[in-house]
């Protein structure tokens, strides 16, 4: 036993030495390369003015603002599309997942068809297709469709009345020189990304929900019905609490991958974090720093989600015990 312990220690020491050597070598080569070629490094560029504009932003942003604020605006844009998409995909996915368990053959078939189609086509392709549909089939901004009072839909997106604005309580969209001016505008990039992410993730959520419900032994629902519960009561009081326990962990995973998938925004011109970081990379040439920033932010989001998910699991655990 003593020998084994010593050997393990030896192996680990060697491993650590190899690792340090590799790291040292990597840093040495990189630093050497950069010094020899006069490449600047460091994060000082974050304080410089960004110098480029961002098409749409939740945070007030101007090209004279600093680069880090530009990246923050990018992150805000990522969350701006990811959070509604999480909500929409969870709702739609739950409905479809339940639909797949319906006694009705048509509904079951439709939901199965939805899942099998959406899951088996790359998300990027779906996003590109949605974007093409939104920008190509809608009328140009100068001839926007009016869906209601002060609600316009066109190639330039969906314009809605929004609180605030210069004058009164509501900022109303109006027809301007090139199209719609004022109000809150949801751009086609945003709409396509929201639509694509929600529909794609809904297929995965549906499978998660279906799997979760099927994981509850059949005897449970039979017993509940035998006790005289209605189908709704059985579902709410017996099936759901048990199913949730196996649904929630994979569900948070789906939400996390939705947030990561939002990075595909770069392909359709929505200024999310990756897109803004990519522009920064081009303007400053600081490739390593920009990529490191993207990765760090996403890692943080992942940790945050993991933590939230654990908290949620504890909460539902308690709720299950109570009901």
């Amino acid at each position: 036993m003593q020998g084994r312990r010593r050997r393990e220690l030896g192996i680990q020491a060697l491993l650590a030495a190899a690792l340090l050597a590799a790291l040292w070598w990597l840093l040495d080569v990189t630093a050497g390369n950069m010094a020899e070629r006069g490449i600047r490094s460091g994060f000082d560029f974050l304080r410089d003015p960004a110098g480029f504009a961002i098409g749409e932003s939740l945070l007030p942003f101007d090209s004279a603002d600093s680069t880090w604020w530009a990246l923050a605006a990018g992150l805000a844009n990522t969350l701006r599309v990811a959070l509604p998409a999480i909500l929409a995909s969870t709702l739609l996915g739950t409905l479809i997942g339940l639909g797949r368990l319906s006694p009705n053959l048509l509904l079951r078939g439709l939901c199965a068809g939805y899942v099998e189609t959406l899951r088996n086509i790359p998300l990027l392709l779906q996003l590109l297709a949605w974007y093409f549909v939104v920008t190509d089939l809608l009328p140009p901004a100068s001839a926007a469709l009016q869906l209601g009072p002060h609600v316009f839909l066109s190639k330039s997106g969906l314009a809605l009345p929004w609180p605030g604005g210069d004058g009164g309580l509501l900022d109303l969209p109006l027809r301007g020189e090139f199209g719609i001016v004022g109000g809150a505008a949801l751009t086609p990039e945003f709409l396509a990304l929201l639509l694509g992410l929600s529909l794609y993730t809904a297929a995965y959520v549906a499978e998660t929900v279906r799997g979760g419900i099927q994981s509850v032994p059949r005897g449970q629902s039979d017993a509940a019905l035998a006790l005289g519960m209605t189908r709704l009561q059985m579902f709410r009081l017996v099936l759901l609490p048990q199913a949730l326990r196996s649904i929630i962990p994979p569900l948070t995973n789906q939400h996390l991958s939705l947030t990561k998938n939002a990075s595909l925004a770069v392909a359709i011109g929505y200024p999310d974090l990756v897109s803004v970081a990519n522009t920064t990379l081009n303007q400053t040439g600081r490739a390593a720093e920009c990529i490191a920033l993207i990765m760090a932010v996403y890692l943080m989001l992942s940790l945050l989600t993991a933590w939230l998910s654990a908290w949620l699991e504890r909460r539902t655990g308690r709720w299950v015990e109570r009901s």
Binding site: A22, R37, F52, A64, T135, D136, F178, P188, T284
Partner: protein, 345 residues
Amino acid sequence: MNLPNVAPNWPAAIALLVLSLQFPAAHAGKTLDQIRQRGQLVCGVSTGVIGFSAADSQGRWNGLDVDVCRAIAAAVLNDANKVKYVPLNAQQRFTALQSGEVDLLSRNTTWTLTRDASLGLHFTAVTYYDGQGFLVPKKLKLGSARQLKNAEICVQSGTTTEKNLSDYFKAQGIKIKPVVFEKFEASIKAFFSGRCQAYTTDASALAFIRSKEAPKPDDYVVLPELISKEPLGPVVRRGDDEWFAIVKWVIFALIEAEEYGVTQANLEQMKAGSDPAIQRLLGSAEDSGKLLGLEREWAARAVKAVGNYGELFQRNVGSASPLKLPRGLNALWNKGGLMYAPPIR
């Protein structure tokens, strides 16, 4: 429990790993020696900008930037075809040059202070003076870029274009909404589908986009304003002054050849002529190549391969090309343009 038969391999494997890590970094010699040794110039070009660098369906590259590579290959290796083209997108281009993946970046790249001073690169000489302009649909009846208030403008990311756009309209006090795309194809597609009211990029590319990409070229106009200076030229890595000089002077030789009227066709006659400046340029009088570490006829070979700067311009982007761009700023200095080569002597 013990670790049979595999355990003794651990130290060996780690030793191997460490050994392989200490493998000496294959150190770059001088760029010129490397090129001679491999018998090939590695040239970074764009993934496809017609007139500058674009591959046809057979994979043959042509364009102004490509001809610069060919001229340098001719001067250095005496064979304009010994070039390997590496297509690079806007993000890849500087790292590819920095890392030594390419010897030369000839990819319509704008010379700016930040790039010259902080990316470990040297811009050599200007091969095309460009400026950023706007393409708009005719039906919007716009006469000036200043009328683009609140307009959405499609732009490709990874270029100096985004920054110019924001600078210009900020100076004018006009608000615009940029719609930024990662890829050229996507930005073009969005503009022609009517997503934006204007498209912006270098004027040379706008001419091409209007004539080749527009469903009906006559439905679109290029606005008169050029909002920026875009001097485009080849870039080399820092730390090799000899290579820097070679690239610079091959370009100057092409410009000088135009100035003295030396063309691909009359080269041999000119060699035999009596003008001392031409004699010097073509290596029939004194050996200017020696100073650059090249052979005596370096400039003559470059001109022989691609023609002088004027020929190169006309063939790729000028009147003999589909782009039909005017010489404008790119005419010789004595013809109202900016093309001026220091004397070869």
